[in-house]
């Protein structure tokens, strides 16, 4: 109990950092996911193929491999660049925050793109045809007709992915991050004799974040199903 009291402030600090990781990465992932989904739904190969390749490659490699690649592989390259171009001083930017958020964003952009794509497909083709025949441009059709109808359908999978991201943000601990699992790892190493209470505390904090979110998503989904 005394151990939990000692560790609690540090763990709460880690929880706050986890939330910062998730919120910033998820909003970036939504933005890039939308761009990828739009590229993917294009008729032109030069837009469609890069998006497709990106999505397939990212979804078929583990996030821990990507995070190692970004943090160790890329930072080594940046150091190499800095030796040749000392003015740039790029390596200082490749810290655990940047690498963690970059890895989470890169990984989840691919998943969000698929959610966007499924959402756009769920809006009937007739809606687009009607909008175009009424004289709307394809951009107007997208933002005024397709998107408003697709967004309610996309919210449950987005919230689901947000919970997945909350859990995947734990992987940042392998590159010396400052989020909850890193704190857990630090305290575990320094209290080797009795780590179980620390695990319970960390899991309780994760559950406190994920369970309300998932219940909210379920409630929204039921409301949505009733409305449709």
């Amino acid at each position: 109990m005394a151990l939990i009291q000692q560790a609690l402030p540090d763990f709460l600090d880690g929880t706050r950092n986890t939330i910062i990781y998730c919120v910033s990465s998820f909003s970036l992932a939504l933005l890039f996911g939308l761009i990828l989904a739009l590229m993917d739904s294009s008729r032109f190969v030069w837009l469609k193929a890069p998006a497709r390749i990106y999505i397939e490659v990212i979804r078929s490699t583990p996030m821990i491999a990507q995070i190692f690649l970004i943090y160790y592989g890329l930072s080594a390259l940046l150091f190499d660049l800095d030796v040749n171009f000392p003015v740039l001083n790029l390596a200082q930017y490749d810290n655990a925050w940047v690498a963690g958020i970059a890895a989470l964003t890169i990984n989840y952009a691919a998943y969000e793109a698929e959610v966007f794509r499924a959402g756009f497909l769920s809006v009937e083709r007739g809606q687009t045809e009607a909008a175009l025949s009424l004289g709307l441009s394809s951009g107007q059709n997208f933002f005024r007709i397709v998107l408003p109808q697709a967004i309610p359908l996309m919210i449950p999978p987005f919230v689901n992915d947000l919970i997945y991201m909350l859990k995947d943000s734990a992987v940042v601990s392998v590159i010396a991050g400052t989020e909850l699992t890193s704190k857990l790892d630090f305290w575990r190493v320094h209290n080797g004799s009795n780590p179980i209470p620390l695990f319970i505390l960390a899991m309780a904090l994760y559950l406190a974040l994920s369970l309300p979110t998932s219940y909210l998503a379920r409630w929204y989904e039921q409301k949505l199903r009733a409305a449709l």
Binding site: W46, E56, R59, T61, I64, A65, A76, G135, L166, T181
Partner: protein
């Protein structure tokens, strides 16, 4: 009206440029692939050393994933039986299992198994390595059992991985069983089958069709999540070997980057065919009935 006409006129011109960009893209793609092949070729000295090692790691990753999936299926089946049980106690236990496991990161659970529970059980006198060693001694092949450090790490790692995926499998199986209309069970019971026969002969064969696509999808994520076992030490799988081969190269950043890329490529070579298989199965199962 004027505006729409102008737009209609200007459209074909823009499209020609966009179509031309397709050819530019193909040229760039060929250039990129050639450049990537050259990049791999220029690191051939690393490949000669690392590829056999990483291939062994890939084999370990596949074995670990298959073992974990079999165990996860068992956990998931027990969990689904619990969630659909008539008894509130079983339903409650299964619900807590699913919610707690799905609400916490797999990495934390792996730490818990690898550093928490294993230490606790070791204090209580439980050592999976010794048990396996003694069992293999009976059949006179105890030299096949790896060292204590490796065996115990793999034991608890696979247990943690399958315990985690068991929770997801519980929901998959539950959804599958619930998707079979209630009338099927009622018909089976009224034809004189008992409830176990009804489940085994009538409900499960229909439920399995529906569970196959999510099952394969979870297997792909399981293969990827098995890379997390590299964090608990002692599990010699693909990601662990990649990191082990890459980290001594920190004085040569380009080589270090290449090893990380190479490890990720092997994961891609395992997971992408599985993703194609999952998509094929999904399309086929959608056609059924």
């Amino acid at each position: 009206m004027q505006q729409t006409l102008n737009r209609a006129e200007s459209k074909p011109k823009a499209q020609i440029w966009f179509v031309l960009l397709d050819f530019v893209f193909y040229l760039l793609l060929v250039a990129f692939l050639a450049g990537f092949a050259l990049y791999i070729y220029s690191n051939r000295d690393l490949i000669i050393i690392d590829f056999p090692i990483l291939l062994q790691g890939a084999g370990a990753t596949i074995v670990i994933s298959l073992l974990s999936m079999v165990l996860a299926t068992i956990f998931g089946f027990i969990g689904a039986m619990g969630r659909l049980s008539r008894f509130t106690v079983f339903r409650l236990i299964a619900a807590v299992y699913v919610e707690v496991i799905r609400g916490t990161p797999i990495l934390v659970q792996l730490f818990l198994w690898g550093f928490g529970i294993s230490a606790l059980l070791a204090q209580a006198g439980f050592n999976p390595h010794d048990i396996a060693f003694q069992m293999m001694t009976v059949v006179q092949s105890n030299s096949l059992v790896p060292s204590e450090f490796i065996f115990n790490a793999a034991f608890y790692g696979i247990l943690g991985l399958s315990f985690n995926y068991g929770a997801y499998m519980t929901e998959v199986f539950r959804a599958g069983i619930e998707s079979v209309p209630r009338g099927q069970t009622e018909a089976a019971l009224s034809l004189g089958l008992d409830s176990a026969q009804g489940l085994r002969r009538i409900v499960l064969p229909q439920a399995i069709r529906i569970t196959i696509p999510p099952f394969t999808n979870y297997f792909i994520t399981l293969v990827q999540d098995s890379a997390l076992l590299s964090t608990i030490g002692g599990v010699i799988e693909l990601q662990q070997l990649t990191t082990a081969l890459a980290s001594p190269l920190s004085s040569e950043p380009n080589k270090q980057l290449f090893v990380y890329i190479f490890g990720a490529l092997i994961f891609l070579a395992i997971c992408y065919p599985l993703a194609l298989l999952a998509r094929y199965l999904e399309a086929r199962m959608a056609l059924a009935y």
